[in-house]
Symmetry: C2
Subunit: 284 residues, 2 copies
């Protein structure tokens, strides 16, 4: 039986600190506010938006929705982001992605001012993750992995972490963040040879490929900590992670569940970044 690294206790722990800081901001006349930019009505985006609004409300944090038509042109999204950049009542911006394919998503991500880019989507934010500067915010999911490891006091210094997946949303940024914590980090992907063997050499394995049940027990051994970043649906339409949980949980030392693991913490990280941004803007 592995220890379940549930997100809820992490979220509760973060909430205590965040509520205090939000109170302090309000007493100084600052209403910390998160802009939510959505195009169209994709069910994924709507569900994520509902979760974000609920979490924000529970902490006393305001949200400001910006809803564009799913056929809105580049200039419309551009104008929206620009208005957010200039709006002193908005402290952070979460833009639901992927954007429709007819838009230049990269150019739009780079328009967001780094101080409000609380999900680390702009080049400036990613550069700060790569160069260990504290100027920008890292992507929330990557930071959620670090928050879970920290909360459950999983040792990192000198330890070997295998990260499967090399996206700019999770794989690469979480690798840089764990390197900064003095872990040794291996980045793997679909072309990696002997992946099961490589995974078994790790102290910590982070699965972030987005494929239901992609990793069975042959990838793991006793003593390991497993973070499952995947949010997928299996053939029966049930929410599941990248790891075959039923097979792997009896083998390893500790594992995050899906749902109720990393995803749960990600939303709290988003809120924490908005509070950080508001504090910076107000002068701590």
């Amino acid at each position: 039986m592995a220890t379940l690294l549930k997100g809820k206790p992490v979220v509760d722990h973060m909430a205590i600190d965040l509520r205090n800081r939000i109170e302090a901001l309000k007493s100084r006349g600052v209403e910390p506010t998160l802009a939510l930019v959505r195009m169209g009505e994709r069910p994924d985006d709507l569900s994520y938006e509902r979760t974000a609004k609920k979490r924000a409300a529970s902490l006393g944090l305001s949200t400001k929705p910006y809803v564009l038509d799913d056929l809105a042109p580049q200039a419309a999204v551009q104008a929206t982001l620009q208005s957010i950049n200039y709006d002193k009542t908005v402290h952070g911006c979460l833009m639901f992605r992927p954007l429709p394919s007819f838009l230049d998503e990269k150019a739009l991500c780079n328009m967001l001012s780094p101080e409000k880019d609380i999900d680390g989507i702009s080049l400036a934010s990613l550069a700060s993750v790569f160069t260990d500067s504290s100027d920008g915010f890292p992507p929330c999911t990557a930071q959620a992995c670090v928050e879970i490891l920290d909360f459950y006091r999983i040792p990192l210094v000198g330890k070997h972490v295998v990260v499967i997946g090399r996206s700019l949303v999770v794989g690469k940024p979480v690798s840089m963040m764990l390197l900064r914590r003095n872990a040794s980090v291996t980045i793997c992907h679909s072309r990696t040879e002997n992946l099961p063997e490589l995974c078994r050499t790790a102290d910590i394995v982070i699965c972030a490929v987005g494929r239901a049940h992609a990793f069975g027990k042959e990838y793991f051994r006793a003593g390991q900590t497993v973070l499952d970043v995947g949010i997928n649906f299996d053939s029966r339409g049930t929410l599941c992670g990248d790891v075959n949980f039923d097979e792997v949980e009896p083998v390893v030392d500790a594992i995050t569940p899906v749902p109720g693991g990393i995803g749960t913490v990600t939303t709290s990280v988003t809120m924490a970044h908005v509070v950080d941004a508001a504090e910076k803007m107000a002068g701590r």
Copy 2:
């Protein structure tokens, strides 16, 4: 007996292509030119500058020296870089570092316009390495590693590379570049546990810590390719790498010598970047 991965054949191979391209630029009235920015008279910088000038001259590429006093203030270096940014006769800029400690080196690096930042020192260049964009130039030493691997046709796809050292000049950028080539990459450092064991699991080991003879035969096994990025002096004042060459060479399959390995190729990469920059500026 390991195959010696000498830099000279790589340099000769690159020179053929570069001479042709420089000729083509000149026939269009473009004189590809590298600015060399030096503060004071540090022997390291002077030696590097001599090598760069010689290599440039041998290819038909012009250099333009900018020499500042070793006590020049931030504003002086700033003005120099700004003048280089605006100067249409200069295509690339190499600034010898480290700068004196009383200067804000990071701010100065970021002033250089990305199109002329042929050694990948600005945040914009590093961001492009991290995000796999082709907008900027990667650091020359990191690219020299890739050039050597390519020239000697060392397989990369799916292979496991262990990189020792996490600097922004070599370790991190070369990791991103090899990841892009579909290698699996482990980044290690001074805090890594069981480093010798970890190194022995790799197909390719890149040593970039800058400590004379730091890696003996216990770090290696038969079948491996070793790139030694270190440029150090041993206790007798002899130039040497990070690897204990005499001990390791009989064990592994292939290894770069020091001197005559990576360092030799780095200067050619610098020149190649200037030619790239000049071509981009002229419109290919």
